[in-house]
Amino acid sequence: MGRFLFRSVISIIVTMVLVSILLFVMLDPRDGAVLVKILGIEATPEQQESLANQLALDTPIMTRYLDWVIGNDWRAERLIGSDVVLLEDPRTGDSSWWIDEGNERYIQYEVNTDGLMVPLVRQPAGEYIKEAPVDLWETDAEGNKFFWGLDAKGRGALWDDSGATEFISTQTGWQELAGAPVDYIPIRKGVLRGDAGISWRTSRSISNAVYLRAGNTFKLAGLAFVVVMPLALLFGIIAGINEGKFLDRFISIVGLIGTSTPEFVSGLVFILLFALTWSLFPSQSADLIGTGLKPKHYVLPVLTLTAVELGYVIRMTRASMVDVMKAPYIRTAIIKGMPYRRVVLRHALRNALMAPITIIMLHINYLVGGIVVVEAIFAYPGLGDYIFKSAVFGDIYALAAAAMVTVIVAVLTRLFGDLAYTLLNPRIRFS
């Protein structure tokens, strides 16, 4: 058992490393498509270049991969020469990086038109006040002036005296800003430490969004699971013990049609019936992060998931039940005159449920996939919706982080499935 667990954990770690490399290499923005997406099609090549620099897309893929996985705050700390900390802004709930100078003094920098650094000192309420400009230029071996610090957006930034311009996003569009840094490090702790950086689409923390939305998705998936499983096991067993009869054919065909009807079709039909015609339940649960979802928001998504999932689990349970009912010990039990009900409940059921348990565990993977579509239809603020929107935008770090979460869920449930199977099956447990 211990060896089995050890091997599983090693295998999971290798899988996760492979998945993260695969995701990163595949999603790597080879052309400027994502820059156009963020800036709009009217952006000039200079603006695109500036943005690529600000997002650190001009660094080698290996560096970006390591930054993404294990973070780059330590790299920034070495360049800046002092500790950096992530502090939450109480006004917005977003976090930003600050240089920690000790004594509760946290600063970022700005370079003014005279070429001097203006320290921005953080106040407890989250805002900053500007202090008198100071000269902090350092000189490298070739006599060029440079300065590593954090800019007002909390990014690691390298200034020199060349007077570069940065194109920054404001309410009114893209503006040029003189006295800008020439190189950037978008600081993050890395996915291993639970920080995947800032989303390009929403300009907010990816990890926070994924955390919130994963919670919503698990609620939906959990509800669907609780509704689907008892029903599916019941119908699967009924179909299995009536193999070949009308009842079996009926349950199987209805289940097959349910499984073959895409979520978006059944979802739309349910919306038409329950929301538009009879006005029983809301059809959209959009943008309810924070305000909380009411029970009525769950009804139609769960119903849609049930319609598509039910048939699949029925099929598995039925096949397993049919196999068991053909086993010699069942025939013996029937021949020796045991009541049929007792044969089914005491002998067949226990053995028949073994196979579905592992398959149901594997099926959670499929359930998460189906949820992407259901969330898109019902505008449900879950992980699937986030994955879909990030994919459409080309927000690769957000997509990769959210996809990693779904993969972790899949691998862990597979492990639990294997464990459950091992524990339930004496032949494996004692070998």
């Binding site: 295998s11 290798v14 899988t15 492979l18 998945v19 695969l22 995701l23 595949m26 999603l27 790597d28 097959l256 049609i257 499984t259 073959s260 009807t261 895409p262 979520e263 978006f264 079709v265 739309l268 919306i271 038409l272 538009l276 993977n365 499929y366 998460v368 996939g369 189906g370 992407v372 579509v373 898109a376 994955i387 879909f388 994919a391 459409v392 080309g394 690769i396 997509l399 996809a403 779904t406 993969v407 899949a410 691998v411 597979r414």
Partner: protein, 366 residues
């Protein structure tokens, strides 16, 4: 048994033909086949005749059943029936190759050759006698794409454009064929060779299988853009791990049989054993699985079309039709229900076909 019949060893194709003969014995499989054939005939018909031009706005938008538009019109007045008929084409009948430069073709051909060469060389590399040959093949496969890239960039090949055209057989079928080729080769090596080969191959495939299917599709499409060829690639990559698992379990079961021992003693090559001895005997379950996979592919293409990430226009695509009809579902339900009916019946047909065939094959083996 006479010597003549013994000398005729069953091949993959003769076994597939044998299994397909079983179809007529199963009522379920016959019904399924009829449903699939219905859509194949509809698709073929749509090339020469549809009631209206599927891409022209000829009627009043969002109307129900009316003269000349048997199943109503969509929101810009196109005929639902004609569009649903033509929607079969991109899934089952034809694959559209977009306008590409010669350089892009060179890269594509290099990529496909690299995969094929890799699949040929991998079994060789796993066999002691042919290890050198195998590794040389793998190295050549690895450098093919960079070489093609250099040639395409250094010459003027990127400027010569080949216009778009279509090749026969649809996206779903090419995709499943791809996952069968990839998956069964890898699965057979893993199962027959065992040991490190098994562990390495299955570990890599496990990483792919860990993705929820639709998420992997979205990742591939985000990375490579929308298009028929990308969809084929996505279907092949997503399906390969499942096929490999099945092929592996079959190979594990078959490899201890006497005729494999005999072939090994005769000194047959690993290729002969894998594809002439094991594969023909494992083809039944793989065939059934492939039918189900075509069904999944149709389902997923529909889902991606609904999400607006599926096959590109202008040819109608069922999922996309439903997506476009969604805002006016209340006024024109037929625009959603007709393509939905198409997806459901085609998927149900493929499922029934596979189920019936499976029942017959297992009965035949017992």
């Amino acid at each position: 048994m006479t010597t003549e019949t013994r000398s005729k060893a069953p091949t993959v194709w003769s076994n597939i033909a044998n299994y397909l003969k079983l179809v007529s014995e199963s009522r379920i499989a016959t019904i399924g086949l009829a449903m699939v054939l219905f859509w194949i005939i509809v698709g073929l018909t749509s090339f020469v005749w549809t009631p209206q031009d599927p891409n022209a706005s000829l009627g009043i938008p969002n109307r129900g059943i009316q003269d000349g538009f048997m199943l109503g019109t969509d929101r810009i007045g196109r005929d639902n029936l004609s569009r649903t008929m033509a929607g079969t084409q991109v899934i089952l009948m034809k694959t559209r190759i977009p306008e590409l430069s010669v350089g892009a073709y060179l890269l594509g051909i290099a990529g496909i050759s690299a995969i094929v060469l890799g699949l040929v060389a991998l079994p060789w590399a796993s066999d002691k006698r042919t290890r050198q040959k195998g590794f040389i093949g793998l190295i050549i496969a690895a450098v093919l794409i960079p070489i093609a890239n250099i040639i395409a960039n250094s010459t003027g090949l990127n400027d010569i454009i080949i216009p778009k055209f279509a090749i026969p057989v649809g996206v779903a079928i090419w995709g499943v064929a791809g996952s069968l080729t990839l998956g069964s080769t890898l699965g057979l090596i893993a199962g027959y060779r065992g040991g490190t080969w098994d562990q390495v191959i299955m570990q890599i495939l496990d990483a792919l299988i860990a993705f929820p299917r639709i998420v992997l599709y979205l990742v591939v499409i985000t990375a490579l853009g929308q298009g028929d060829l990308v969809m084929i690639f996505a279907i092949a990559v997503t399906g390969a791990p499942g096929v490999a698992r099945l092929a592996r379990s079959q190979a594990l079961e078959i490899k201890s049989r006497d005729y494999i021992r005999a072939a090994e003693t005769r000194g047959e090559s690993i290729w002969y054993i894998m594809f002439r001895e094991i594969l023909p005997n494992a083809i039944g379950p793989l065939l059934v699985d492939a039918m189900l996979r075509v069904g999944y592919a149709v389902f997923t293409i529909g889902t991606l079309g609904f999400l607006g990430r599926g096959l590109p226009p202008p040819e109608p695509d069922w999922g996309n039709m439903i997506n476009l009809a969604r805002p006016s579902f209340g006024q024109a339900p037929l625009s959603v229900l007709v393509p939905a009916f198409a997806i459901v019946t085609l998927v149900v047909g493929l499922n029934l076909f596979a189920d019936g065939l499976n029942e017959e094959i297992t009965r035949y083996q017992k």
